[in-house]
Symmetry: C2
Subunit: 321 residues, 2 copies
């Protein structure tokens, strides 16, 4: 069986590709390499069951051509659609970024799947589709959905387009609403920011905000495990699941202190003001994974252990070879 992964060179994409290869599948991947890299895929590219094409999904015909090329070898039966802008502030500054990279990638992918008769799609959605609901637990049946970033808006727009497609040509749709995911190969996020800042100024870590912002974190290895679990066990035609840690998370202060401890134990930490990192960032949320637990999956690591593991991995990643 051959599967297509869009955004395969990214943080989640490379981990997912490896997991699907490990299951014995053939994996065909596309990526525009705007944030993902060939280096991320070094191990994948050595695998004879992995094929890669660099392309812009939104360029007319690009994805269709690649898929026809992939399918010449063996038909593609399923798509894991991960391609998206992953720089939320960039999308807040300019709506066109998420329109193209987060929504139009979904729209074009759907059109190509329809044309090629690929009827199964798994999609990387986000907790950002909910918006800011304060202390209310974010469950899958919560409404109204009021995203506060263009990233969240275009993820929700993607969910909507996929839902309509599940009425016409898609037979199976899995929507995974991702939490904050950490691990390697890290491309962005607070941990790699801290590690890199400490390389620039080894004595001082300057933190955006007052450090009280609290979030739950899931390690990417557990995320992939949950995605494959839902894919195997969910029975709804449109299966929508939050994936996340089971706890209320850790503060930015904890991450700063842990990063300093591992990377530069002598550095001091300086905090800014306010507890919202940027416009479009939900400062604190309670993410419910009760539905996923009922399906039979729970994370093994809490946010604390996930953060500690990821920091060690990211510090190693950023060390000169």
């Amino acid at each position: 069986m051959s599967v297509l992964i869009t955004g395969v060179a990214g943080f989640v994409g490379t981990n997912l590709a490896q997991a699907l290869l490990d299951k014995g599948l053939r994996v065909c991947g596309v990526d525009n390499l705007s944030r993902g890299t060939l280096q991320n895929m070094a191990a994948l590219l050595k695998n004879p069951r992995f094929e890669f094409r660099q392309l812009e999904i939104t360029e007319p015909g690009a994805l269709l051509n690649a898929c026809e090329h992939f399918a010449a070898h063996e038909a593609i039966t399923e798509c894991w659609h991960l391609a998206a802008n992953s720089d939320i502030p960039a999308g807040v500054a300019e709506a066109a970024v998420d329109l193209k990279d987060t929504f139009m990638t979904t729209y074009v992918t759907l059109e190509v799947l329809k044309q090629l008769g690929i009827r199964k799609l798994a999609f990387a959605s986000s907790s950002a589709i909910y918006g800011d609901h304060g202390s209310k637990a974010l469950e899958e049946d919560l409404g109204p959905l009021l995203p506060i970033s263009n990233y969240g808006a275009m993820k929700l727009a993607s969910e909507a387009a996929l839902s309509a497609a599940a009425e016409t040509f898609l037979t199976n749709l899995w929507i995974f609403r991702f939490p904050n995911v950490i691990g390697v190969p890290a491309t962005h996020g607070v941990m790699i920011d801290f590690v890199r800042k400490l390389k620039q100024t080894p004595n001082l870590l300057q933190v955006l905000g007052d450090g009280t912002q609290q979030k739950g974190y899931l390690h990417v290895e557990e995320l992939i495990d949950a995605m494959l679990y839902i894919h195997r066990h969910a029975t709804e035609r449109r299966a929508i699941y939050n994936i996340g840690p089971a706890d209320a998370g850790v503060t930015v202060q904890f991450i700063a202190e842990e990063t300093v401890r591992v990377a530069q134990p002598t550095a001091s930490i300086q905090y800014g003001e306010g507890n919202r990192g940027w416009v479009g960032d939900v400062p604190r949320f309670v993410y419910s994974i009760d539905k996923l637990k009922q399906l039979g999956w729970s994370p093994k690591l809490g946010s604390v252990q996930a953060v500690q593991k990821a920091i060690r991995q990211i510090v190693a990643q950023e060390q000169p070879a």
Copy 2:
């Protein structure tokens, strides 16, 4: 005060424009006249406080140019965004229709408002954003939102983009989730279809489906009244309200019989099979307007009276002058 209405030449647009003119406002309207007509606007065009420009919102610069022209006279402070594809089956057949006419119109309108510093937006959303929830009452806080038509999907995508804009530059956002709305000037829908079919074949009305499909209907005069009421009284930054009749609605059979009674009392009625009119049509839903009632507004007409009134008006509209 000057307000902008997109889709002003359509069924709801013309009624809204008249209501806002009646309140003493200056109304600037745009429409591509794909479905709306100059004839619909005959009375409006005689009003010195009404200005109209025909344009495609999605053509680069078209809406911005028109708004700069309108604003030269008096600044625009608010936009009522109604422009959208209104042919649901067309959008199911080809996703590009709703992408362009239902979603990209919203995206471009937002970009223009941002550029011109217009910070208030009222939006015509739809019950179609909910999808098919069977007998569960559709309340504003219901989730997950699983539209089954591209029209519903692109209305939800529009809501999402507007919600994100309310985090950056919009100070006020009103989202009205429309029910089935009837009245004149009718441009599409089951009643005008029946009236026109009876003109073609005065002895026989052929009905798509078995006639058991049941829906609630609101008269456009009440819809406009509710929109203005919510606009005046809602206090949330993102005010989302279902607007609809307070009852479970009437069947297609009732509409067919009423249309025959008014238009061609001697005609017989022939039904088809199945109770879903077309792909993407939600066959039956329970629409909750409890939130709107709590705000203090209730419809005066039930679905039965709204249908009877609209049929009389549509039969009159379709009579040769």
